[in-house]
Symmetry: D3
Subunit: 249 residues, 6 copies
Amino acid sequence: MALLHLSTWPEVADYLTESRGLIVPIGSTEQHGPIGLIGTDAICAEVIAKGVGDATGALVAPTINVGMALHHTAFPGTISLRPSTLLLVLRDYLVSLARSGFQRFFFINGHGGNIATVKAAFAETYAALTELQIPGADQVRCELANWFMCPSVTQLARELYGDREGSHATPSEVAVTQFVYPEAIKQGVLSAEVNRDHAIYGAVDFRCRYPDGRMGSDPSLATPEHGQQFYQRAVNDLSQRYRQFLSAE
Amino acid sequence: MALLHLSTWPEVADYLTESRGLIVPIGSTEQHGPIGLIGTDAICAEVIAKGVGDATGALVAPTINVGMALHHTAFPGTISLRPSTLLLVLRDYLVSLARSGFQRFFFINGHGGNIATVKAAFAETYAALTELQIPGADQVRCELANWFMCPSVTQLARELYGDREGSHATPSEVAVTQFVYPEAIKQGVLSAEVNRDHAIYGAVDFRCRYPDGRMGSDPSLATPEHGQQFYQRAVNDLSQRYRQFLSAE
Amino acid sequence: MALLHLSTWPEVADYLTESRGLIVPIGSTEQHGPIGLIGTDAICAEVIAKGVGDATGALVAPTINVGMALHHTAFPGTISLRPSTLLLVLRDYLVSLARSGFQRFFFINGHGGNIATVKAAFAETYAALTELQIPGADQVRCELANWFMCPSVTQLARELYGDREGSHATPSEVAVTQFVYPEAIKQGVLSAEVNRDHAIYGAVDFRCRYPDGRMGSDPSLATPEHGQQFYQRAVNDLSQRYRQFLSAE
Amino acid sequence: MALLHLSTWPEVADYLTESRGLIVPIGSTEQHGPIGLIGTDAICAEVIAKGVGDATGALVAPTINVGMALHHTAFPGTISLRPSTLLLVLRDYLVSLARSGFQRFFFINGHGGNIATVKAAFAETYAALTELQIPGADQVRCELANWFMCPSVTQLARELYGDREGSHATPSEVAVTQFVYPEAIKQGVLSAEVNRDHAIYGAVDFRCRYPDGRMGSDPSLATPEHGQQFYQRAVNDLSQRYRQFLSAE
Amino acid sequence: MALLHLSTWPEVADYLTESRGLIVPIGSTEQHGPIGLIGTDAICAEVIAKGVGDATGALVAPTINVGMALHHTAFPGTISLRPSTLLLVLRDYLVSLARSGFQRFFFINGHGGNIATVKAAFAETYAALTELQIPGADQVRCELANWFMCPSVTQLARELYGDREGSHATPSEVAVTQFVYPEAIKQGVLSAEVNRDHAIYGAVDFRCRYPDGRMGSDPSLATPEHGQQFYQRAVNDLSQRYRQFLSAE
Amino acid sequence: MALLHLSTWPEVADYLTESRGLIVPIGSTEQHGPIGLIGTDAICAEVIAKGVGDATGALVAPTINVGMALHHTAFPGTISLRPSTLLLVLRDYLVSLARSGFQRFFFINGHGGNIATVKAAFAETYAALTELQIPGADQVRCELANWFMCPSVTQLARELYGDREGSHATPSEVAVTQFVYPEAIKQGVLSAEVNRDHAIYGAVDFRCRYPDGRMGSDPSLATPEHGQQFYQRAVNDLSQRYRQFLSAE
């Protein structure tokens, strides 16, 4: 593995003679309930991306640590790009990197709220690269891999937490952050009752609907040991998927 | 049912005293293989939206007939908005209509390629409505309903076509257009071989990968009678879903 | 005639070997007074475009049914794009279609409020096509044809309605919608008094100035038979104009 | 008269206690044929705006000297904003000035190519002012006055030049610049033949169609004395129109 | 010297065979305290640009007389572009002019508030010119020269005014306007006390902080004779700098 | 100190009852010569920001690790936002955070190329916050602190490296990265000759002018010990400056 930000440009030039693949972690900076870290999604995406980089020898880009979290902005500490801004950010990243010669972009994503915008950005960018007549534009491919949707991950979450996994500020993602930052494990008393709804509309509605920020989850179940298991499973699944992505026609 | 474009503004004002719901059909104008109509996605969304309007008494907006189809633009006749443009279009629609007093927007969608951008637009718009301080902004909710993903629809497609349903220019959607426009049923000899891949990247790549525009489908299996069945099932499913949407907390 | 949305891409490819012309109907979705349909401008543009397509053999694109109607947004049911959005929409349409090989775009317009933005979009797009280096970019020409300004149309309106034609929610346009949708003819008592002003500023000012939405018009004079006459005259005039447009140097 | 740029802010504050009107000259920086000045449109708009300011006591803003001239950009020296940019410029001007308390904006325009974009910008801005909740937003009104279309001006041009007036680089506008800058009167032999077409598409097409930049005009007929006459007539017409604009309901 | 707006396009074509340089004055339209002109920054930039043009034979473009002055917009008469708009304006200017063949753009700036946006625009434009594949794109260079920061100017200001020069509505810039427009010298009693702070945040904060618009300055010290000295020094310094800019590798 | 991403939202809510300040590190991902890390600017900004957070008790936001580096994009591995994109990113950050109640934003910057755009973004955002009527909008203040321009830092660089400090890929910044990541110290033979120019234009020109990416620097002089000294000095200077910023009127 190598991290782009710990490499020099001649090292990147060398890498490109052997591979055109790049792993891009993308997360979010948003409330994760009473005991989840605001950086949860970025932390998970980053550590798993590094793991996949180690396993596959792929270069790993710096983490996009702020994403699309407008619905969380009624909780303090959340930072969100608008979808229209995130779309431009991803376009600019991909244009820069495609000029360098990268052609296979594997985004490891830690936040469900990013999915729509990231996919829209891929479509916008394929067309932009062609319009800009960047050499190899027609060869560029992007893939979005959501670590929390890996089959081995969702299976483990089901086994460990059942329906207390929920869909935001989940014990599985909190566990991964505990594995990475054991010094930042938070304590707190969680109300037993939690809204198990899945609906997401505007920010004000969200805070009314989910007053402490959790969506159906019980993050107090998380442990660092669980986190390590989730990490390992996600790295295994996504490493295999990255290799397939690179070798696909 | 009523169609917005066949109503007067006083009729709309009356409607709003009883309902704050609106159905918005959205399709695409893009190649649909050798015998599928370029308007397939818009035609299907529109007819099903009208059916749901009939069944539920909901007002139906004019069809958004051009969507996000950049990957099809290497085939003549395709018209596409860029995701960034479609996002603005949907924002403008929703701002106009929320000013009128509409608060429940039920999009009936005929095109998979629209999904990401439409969802991104919902998020962008919730925040915009709040920023603009439109009365009732925090009450606005949007839902995206893809008719081709209704359980009863996919089940029928599986029964009728098995794996020859494919994922673009499918016999199920072609059947619906044949039901609506029997005078526009096209004949054509289709190659037996067809790429069953699902990958979608840029437009040039798409045409190389799927030379006649089909993705794994055999639209020659379509009949108007099938179309009527798909239509009926989609209308039933989505009418129920619309009612739930209106009555949900 | 053929409609783009009822054609297949191979049919479009064939058409392009014989003609590079396309007719694009553009309307609006906006209040048209107490008895005029919200879809009036789109309905008129669409039916006349189809008539011109029949007369000339030209391909007709799907109708752009929402345009620039910001000044009508204080009346419920109006949907408007901002000029900046409509400009992008038209740019995206023209870029898609110019890539296909179309080079003569004949917009049949049903709404005065679109004129400025459509013309601005033409200028923006000519430059964009050159910047994008689309083959044949320098050959692309767009023309805006407002059916309600055809000499034969305005003459008939004068004869039938005199100064009760007005300038918005006019009997002539209402008549055309009655010809197309006789089942949607609305009844209503109109105040004899109506503001004959022409001024248009913001939406709030507009509704104060024109309380029921009419600008100097008496749409109760409309009949379906009048509508047919207007339709025929517009089709004749615009068919001739389209042919000249195609054959011009 | 007073010029905004030669006033202090307390003087503007005083002016606003008596009038809410402002005159904004807008021109273009574009080729005007072999002997016309590149600044012709800005020079004409500015001098006439100052004349109207003198006659009416209105404050005159700095001249917008670069406008929408994309079709002239194949001739060296032309500077053009894209319509989408000019739209933003006008929005920003009007937002700034409406915050100051100005509510009647009288644009004196010297360039036909600006008309569409300026009108689109008015519509965009009315809505923006309301969205921004600027005090008095609903009272803001903009008017576009094209000096070259004043009845007294076109009549004089017909009398003096007949069909040699043409439609770009006209003797009438060149005459006004000669009146303002007698030291910058250019000599040059003009081809007798000139394309009398009116068509305007892209920049490359424009230069092919109008090789020396003139559209049907013979600017060699211009004299400074004519210029003074045009100036006087335009000032008279537009002063009256400005007063009506201010006093209109 | 020549002014672009007083030239014809063939004259520009001739100029380009000998030089690829252009001087672009840029100012602002903003409050300048109780006795400073709203147009101060544009007036200074323009007159000095013309002086440099005279001294060096360089062509001078029309003055960009409205810049980035958002922080002054709580004072009446100020007009400001947003940075995002000014960035587009400069991009459009440079794209137009680079197409003409200009490659050395020397901006003479009269307003500190423009600096950041102008520099950002240079960066944005270099990339845009390459993306647009404009011939010679990689040869384009822009330089920003702030006349008020010329060493000979700041030295004179120190000698004449000491710490009463301040940083906005300064006696030095007011002096230059008095030299240019002696007929527009304003009188007024200035409070002896003035905030010598340098902080600039939002517009409301600015007016609270600097109630009469001055930042630490005493413009009553200005005289037309001082203005002529500043003018001469700026012209000398910038003429030399322009020549170096043109001849640099 | 606390890091925003390692905090929960209730912790942020608590923090806001005591302080409205936030430290935002911003860097870049760009070539730094033959032995400098691509992440140099982000690494330096981040570590110093954490140090300042420790010293002052301020909360530290996640690092903006990609900035404005268009001029470096001809070297592989560089990622850049366009200025127009970075401007939107910063606006979105600040809008989100101002909604939370933060009002003092202290940006610690590691990259000269960010300065112009960041300052432009501050101006754009102050106006946007007012337009959006965010509570406390008029109290928001942003400050840009470039660690490499701290007096104590530049003095040490001069002492240690003299004119071999240069202006890009400098030994001082490389030293800080060596202090943070001793495991990522790169070796390499540097040409003795290096261009001592300061000019920055487009990306292609940059690579021609500075073939190995250095601007006048000799990063081989860097040591981790130097890095620690630079770190300490920057933290001291900026901690004091942050405290002043918080306490200023």
